[in-house]
């Protein structure tokens, strides 16, 4: 490239991109985030108590993603604005230097032809000065390029860790989408590819719909989202995240002048702090594996729980999966040693006991209608929970996050907490619930399994 070649690019068009990206940063990082927060609050007050925590886990994931995306867009927008400004300055400087160099060259030739040695030297020096000015403009642009490239690469690394330096945009789009989605959601790579190559909102929406249809339904979605993000870590990590976010927002609230390198640096630092908090809070495979291990060791015993967790997370080491054993964990060791055996005993007992409750619920003439319904529903949950526990304890079905969630839900319902909370409402519909199974139940005890299925289906989809 010649010294006087004007750098290509359209700073005006780049500024228009920056304006749109800034608007999108506000839309995703604030408007959408705020809407999600408001809907989440409404959901928390409308959901049955047992499901609020799991819903909050999923909402927190989405909320943090929108906040972090808003910040990332601001960073990318800032980098593009930085480049547009440097490009425009370089273009003007090179154009000016080129024009003045051409003029000096004309005068230098004239002076040389007329033999005016002093003028010839002076114009030659002018030519050199303009060449230096053009070189300096290119140098300044190179420096900005390095800074902008580093910032943009940092953003790519953030969303697509370990990406090769030559990763194609469509691949980054696919990998970032798959990496940020919960493991239970299957984002179709081909649909993602189509949505990127042919930008259309409906196509992007199709990707989302397909993912949901392919995912676990109903309550299991909550369970799996909860699995993605271990709730025990949520509070501490969330407060760190909010702290970092406050620093960023305080800076942003003062309408920072991002063209000032010091302000821009402080802004980037605040943003990095926020993103670091986000990433450290992001569900890691290690946490997932530990979640699975801790919850399945009571059913399977330490060794089999470890094997089970390895099956779901083959890339992790034993210490990673087991984590650190705290004091309480050590105290619980004798109990855990007994529970795999107990699971094999209590699981079938749950089926028997639950079935008995269901049977007495429809045959005991002394029961009030609401008590009858409560006993029946609790019995059904105990039976199904017992069946799943038994299957897991004997290794008939995999002890995955969904199965564990079913057992947990069955436990909650079986102790009657949920039923008690809703007992007045249940009383209203009790005749229908009991009526739906009473005929079959009265004929033979074996028909109770059918009834259990009906109630289970009614409760959990």
């Amino acid at each position: 490239m010649s010294t006087f070649t004007v750098p290509s690019g359209d700073p005006g068009a780049l500024r228009r991109v920056v304006t749109t990206v800034s608007t999108l940063a506000g839309t995703v990082g604030e408007t959408r985030s705020e809407r999600l927060r408001s809907l989440g609050t409404r959901a928390a007050s409308a959901l049955p108590a047992a499901r609020v925590a799991a819903f909050a886990g999923g909402r927190a994931d989405a909320g943090k993603a929108t906040d972090a995306v808003g910040l990332s867009l601001v960073t990318v927008g800032g980098a593009i604005a930085d480049w547009a400004a440097a490009l425009e300055e370089a273009q003007q400087a090179v154009r000016g230097a080129s024009s003045r160099h051409a003029h000096a060259q004309t005068l230098w030739r004239r002076a040389r032809s007329t033999g005016e040695a002093e003028l010839e030297r002076q114009y030659h020096q002018d030519m050199r000065d303009e060449t230096t000015a053009a070189d300096r403009a290119h140098g300044a642009l190179d420096e900005t390029r390095r800074r902008v490239v580093s910032t943009l690469r940092g953003e790519v690394d953030l969303w697509v860790p370990d990406a090769p330096s030559s990763i194609a945009p469509v691949t980054a789009w696919q990998r970032a989408a798959v990496g940020a989605a919960p493991t239970a959601f299957t984002l179709d790579p081909q649909a993602l590819w189509d949505a990127y190559k042919n930008p259309d909102t409906q196509l992007a929406k199709d990707v989302v719909t397909k993912a949901i249809k392919g995912a676990t339904k109903g309550y299991q979605v909550y369970g799996v989202l909860n699995y993605v993000r271990a709730p025990s870590l949520a509070t501490k990590a969330e407060s760190k995240f909010l702290e970092a976010r406050n620093v960023y927002q305080a800076l942003k609230g003062n309408a920072p002048d991002l063209s000032d390198p010091k302000v821009y640096k402080a802004y980037l630092k605040a943003e990095r702090g926020m993103l670091k908090a986000y990433v450290s809070n992001n569900p890691a495979e290690v946490r997932q594996a530990q979640w699975l291990f801790k919850r399945s060791r009571g059913l399977l015993g330490d060794m089999r729980a470890l094997e089970n967790a390895r099956r779901f997370h083959p890339g992790l080491s034993t210490p990673e999966i087991m984590g650190r054993a705290g004091r309480f964990d050590r105290l619980m060791r004798p109990v855990r040693a007994a529970t795999p055996v107990l699971s094999k005993v209590l699981g079938p007992l749950g089926v028997v006991g639950g079935t008995y409750d269901m049977y007495t619920a429809v045959t005991d003439p002394d029961l009030q209608t609401d008590d009858r319904a409560a006993r029946f529903v609790g019995g059904a949950a105990t039976a199904v929970g017992g069946a799943v526990t038994t299957a897991m304890a004997f290794g008939v079905i995999a002890t995955g996050p969904v199965g564990l969630t079913v057992v947990a839900v069955a436990g909650v319902v079986a102790v009657g907490a949920w039923v008690y909370e809703n007992r007045e409402a249940i009383a209203e519909g009790a005749k229908k619930v009991a009526g739906a199974v009473a005929d079959g139940a009265k004929k033979v005890g074996g028909a109770l399994a059918d009834g259990a299925k009906k109630v289970w289906k009614g409760l959990f989809g």
Binding site: G9, R32, D61, A65, T66, A177, A180, V433
Partner: protein, 93 residues
């Protein structure tokens, strides 16, 4: 009839709101990717062009995943509302 442990009507409204939010996020993702292409077309320098498009594509991808989570929450809210209605006999089994 009141529900002590949940409110199916409110859940339905929340579900609709979440579904709309998911659609909006999907639209945002598309627009972010489009801006990446535009930045690449006007950047001039090939390295800056490539990275600007890639960075915005990655961010757009994260927004798609977020839209998926929000849609999951929407369908979960619908399911929870339906389960409450069924369990309390408001709709036939």
């Amino acid at each position: 009839m009141g529900f002590a442990g949940g409110d199916p009507r409110e859940l339905q409204q929340v579900s609709t709101g979440l579904s709309t939010l998911s659609s909006h996020l999907a639209g945002d993702a598309t627009e972010i990717a489009r801006q990446g292409r535009s930045a690449a077309a006007h950047a001039g320098d090939p390295q800056v062009a490539d990275l600007a498009e890639t960075a915005l594509a990655a961010i757009g991808g994260v927004v798609v995943a977020t839209a998926a989570i929000v849609q999951g929450l929407s369908e979960g809210a619908t399911t929870a509302g339906t389960q409450l209605r069924r369990a309390t006999g408001q709709v036939p089994q």
